[in-house]
Each structure stands twice: as C-alpha cells, then as structure tokens.
C-alpha cells in the first residue's frame, strides 16, 4: 500500500511540477505560436498517458492486494473456469480495442499539430537569418536584400514581437542542433545540408537556447540568447548593429585597439572598420552590445572578459579560443577597448 501511495503522490507531484514549470528555456512556457501548439499537444498526451498509467497501476495493485494467496506447494490451476476466462479475455480484447482507438486519435492529433507548426513556412516577409554552427558557437547573419543592411553577430539574436523568422541553418564542422524551447522544437545542422526553420516569437522577453546534438567537448556550453522586443527597440538595435563603431578617442582605448590589432586576436576575430576581418571566431564588431560572452555561458562584464581572454581553457576546456598572456595594463586596455565596441 505504501509503495502505491508513493507512486500516486509521484504522479500528483508530476502534474504539479509540470504545471508550475516555466522559464526562459522551457518547452512548456511557450512564447511563440509553434511552441504553443506543441505545448497544447503535450498536455493532451500527458493527461491521456497519466490516466492510462493510473488505471494500469490500480489493476496491478488490486491484483496484488486481493486476498488470494498460494505457495509453491499449492496445486497449479490448469483448467480454470472457462466462463471466467472468457469474461476476462473479453475485457482484455476491449482494452486492446480502446488502446488502439486512443493511439489512433493521438496519432491524428500529432499529424494535425505537425501540419500546423509547418504551415508558417508560407508566411510572407519573414526576417531571414543565416545561422552557422561551429564548434562551439553560433555565427549569426541577418540577411537583407541590401547587402549593406546585413548584420553579423554571434550567439545572440534580437527579434521583433510577432514577426515570423526564417532561419537558414548550416554547419561548418560536425552536426549541431538548434533548439529554442520557448519558440519551437529543434532542427539539426548537418554538414552538407542546408536546413530552413520557421518560428514566430509572440511574447517579449529574453530566452535561451542550446545545441541539442552532441558536438564535442563544449557541447554543454554551446548556448545562445534571444531577445524578443518591440518593433521599435528591434529597429534601434538593428540600426546600431549596422553602424561601424567609431575609432576610439581616449588613449587607453586606443592602446587597447592597437594591442587588439597587433596581437593574436586578429587571427580569428573581425571588427568592422579595422584591419581585423578574420571569420574563424565570433564577430566582435559590437561585442559591447551583447549581454553574454563565451557562447552565452558568461555575463559580458569586465572581469569575465579578462579571464576569458587569458584562460579560456579553464572556463571551457577544449574551446578553440587559445590561452593568451598579457601584461595586466595591456589586458585592461584591451578589455576597455572591447567594452566600448558599441
């Protein structure tokens, strides 16, 4: 009896936890139309399964608790009462029939939801974003018919509320999977394949996503952040991103820029308006406007930048960013420079 109580309480707890669960990276806290459809489908499945489970467990428990005991000596029942057998077998047949019907219904429902979540692919004038998976960061490029209007950033997206988004996804190395639970399910980025993916954010807020296909050492910290904001805010952000950051004026920043341009950084990173134009690592043109560094696994603050530059291999072992040694004041200058790339 105790076990059964515990199990029932677990089921209750399950409902509670599921009902209460939410957050910036949660599949049941939908902020977009697709996730919404998926969420409602989930609840149908969940309650059907819960009911079935409770019924089966009830039968099992009663079968165990019914007071018909025997031991290994008692004679086996080889010719049971046929009428009774027949009754039970009818019940079993009925149960099978019902489960077939239930399964069929669930199947139809999931097909319908599938159709619905794909229907958005006919939406007009979506924001086109090309996302390239790299070990272990996301290269983000807003595509615009006018090339000068393109935006290049990394690991962070800004999206206006209510406007459909079209992602073109590709991978440069291994298989990754783009997953933004609050908006939609996942889609794999497979080398040699170009995949497209549609979703529509409906609620403003900051959401997080993560690579969902095992891709090597830093699979765990291949994250990205998505800021959904009003159309105006988005436009403001986009306009800022299209600007080339002005050359630094204060001497410290100038020194920082000089260090940046003359040292390791330029081998991998690009800053628009300078000679740094490598595409190996994330684009740093507007690094200061991002809230996170290291693929959305650290807040973008002074000290984090410092540790990240000098000893990334401690924070994310195996990451492509090499360890660098700078004199303290050089490091300060460099970080100050980066912090002003707005």
């Amino acid at each position: 009896m105790k076990r059964t109580k515990s199990k029932l309480s677990i089921v209750v707890l399950a409902c509670a936890a599921l009902a209460s669960c939410g957050g910036p990276q949660n599949a049941l806290d939908s902020a977009g139309v697709q996730a919404g459809r998926l969420e409602s489908l989930w609840w149908v499945f969940f309650w059907v399964c819960a009911v079935v489970y409770v019924i089966v467990m009830a039968i099992l428990v009663i079968a165990f608790l019914r007071n018909r005991r025997a031991d290994e000596k008692s004679a086996p029942e080889l010719l049971p009462d046929p009428a009774r057998e027949q009754r039970v077998s009818n019940i079993v047949k009925g149960a099978v029939g019902i489960s077939i019907i239930v399964l069929f219904t669930l199947m139809v429902l999931s097909f319908r939801t599938g159709r619905a979540v794909n229907s958005l692919s006919y939406a007009e004038s979506p924001i086109e974003i090309r996302i390239t998976g790299n070990q272990w960061w996301w290269d983000v490029e807003y595509r615009d018919p006018v090339p000068s209007m393109n935006i290049r950033t990394a690991n962070e997206l800004h999206l206006p509320v209510g406007r459909p988004v079209k992602l073109n996804l590709q991978s440069t190395d291994v298989i990754h999977s783009f997953w933004l639970p609050n908006m939609h399910g996942k889609i794999d980025l497979i080398p040699g394949y170009e995949t497209t993916f549609f979703f529509r954010p409906d609620e403003a807020g900051t959401y997080f996503g993560q690579c969902a296909e095992f891709c090597g050492y830093q699979h765990a910290k291949m994250r990205f952040a998505v800021t959904v904001e009003s159309q105006e805010d988005y436009e403001k952000w986009a306009a800022a991103q299209r600007q080339v950051p002005p050359p630094p004026v204060d001497p410290l920043q100038q020194r920082g820029q000089q260090i940046f341009l003359t040292s390791v950084c330029t081998q991998c990173h690009a800053v628009a308006g300078t000679t740094a134009n490598a595409r190996v690592g994330p684009d740093l043109t507007h690094i200061a406007t991002r809230h996170y560094i290291a693929a959305a696994s650290m807040h973008n603050v002074h000290d984090h930048l410092k540790t990240w530059i000098t000893d990334p291999q401690r924070i994310k072992p195996g990451v492509r960013m090499p360890m660098n040694t700078y004199a303290e004041e050089d490091l300060n200058a460099l970080v100050t420079y980066l912090e002003n790339l707005k």
Binding site: Y217, V280, D311
Partner: protein, 181 residues
C-alpha cells in the same frame, strides 16, 4: 606475469601521450623563440645545440589542432594542402630552412624572405608548436597512428596518416639557416 605488467605499463605510457587532450598545456621549449642563431660565426668554440623534440608530434589531438590551424591561419593560401603553389611544397623531402621541429618553429615565428610571413606574437607558442608538428606530419615525419586522417572534403591528397615517410634532405638550405654542428 611480470613481462605482462611491463608491457601494460609501456602501452599505458604510449597511449597516454598519443591520446592526451592537452587543453591547458605549457608549450614545449617555449623559451627557444628568440634563441635562434642565424650564423655559424662566433667567437671561440661553437655552442653544442641539442636537438629539440616536439612532443606534439606524438600526440593525435595536437596534430589535429595543427591541421585545423593550418587551414584557419590560411597556410593553405600559399602551401596549398602541402602540395605547394606560391609557397614551397611541404609534403616532399626538400627543406629550404630545415626540417627539424625548432627550425620549422623558427620559420613560422620569424618568417622567411620572399613571402613567408612572420607569426611572431600572432599565435601563442603552443599553437605554433602544434602547427610545426602538423607540418612535419605532411611529409610523414610523425607516427601514422598519431597523424590526422582524411578530411571531410574533396580528396586532394593522401591523408597524413597514409603518407609514407620522406627522407628529409636539408642539403639545399642556405648557409644562414644551417644548424651548427
């Protein structure tokens, strides 16, 4: 029994260095960058220079990292995939500035006349050593069990782990780069 134990120990050592993923390694011989000797002329007896061993040549991970850098630092731009175009080929036996690890290291750090740029301060030492190790794997100087396999792109050359060992002939190097006996 004892022999078995010994064998296991050996296997352990070998495999450890072969398979180690050195994320936070201190580069081997990091001090040698500026200690290059460009002439054999010197007062008194010449200093005996011991041969530098690059542990990365035994390490599969380091060699693969070197391979990645080789394309990402655009070495391919001149040396192609080792076949050579603007820059000299790296998969043959011919070495203008020496085939030894420290000589290759120096070539990368210092750059060489007629086009080889200097990567001094442009790469951390340990990555340059990884590059140097990979460059030697191009002509099969590294163990086949550690050298990188084929790439996931168009087949342009036989992969490093299938390359037979070239016999490096440093005869053709200019006096300046010769290592003093």
């Amino acid at each position: 029994m004892k022999r078995a134990a010994v064998l296991i120990a050996i296997a352990l050592l070998i495999s450890c260095e072969r398979e180690e993923r050195g994320f936070r390694v201190q580069p081997p011989q990091a001090d040698r960058i500026n200690s290059k000797q460009l002439t054999t002329l010197q007062p008194g007896e010449s200093i005996p220079q011991q041969v530098v061993v690059n542990e990365y040549e035994q390490n599969a991970f380091a060699l693969t990292e070197g391979k990645r850098l080789f394309s990402q630092m655009n070495c391919v731009g001149c040396h192609a995939n080792g076949g050579g175009s603007i820059g000299p080929a790296l998969m043959d036996a011919k070495w203008i500035y020496g085939s030894q690890p420290d000589q290759i290291f120096a070539t990368i750090v210092e750059g060489r006349p007629n086009g080889m740029p200097s990567f001094h301060g442009k790469l951390p030492d340990y990555q340059i050593w990884q590059l140097a190790a990979y460059v030697r794997s191009l002509s099969g100087q590294t163990p086949k069990d550690a050298a990188p396999g084929r790439n996931d792109n168009m087949q342009v050359k036989e992969p490093e782990n299938s390359k037979d060992r070239e016999k490096p002939n440093d005869a053709s190097l200019p006096k300046s780069a010769e290592r003093p006996e």
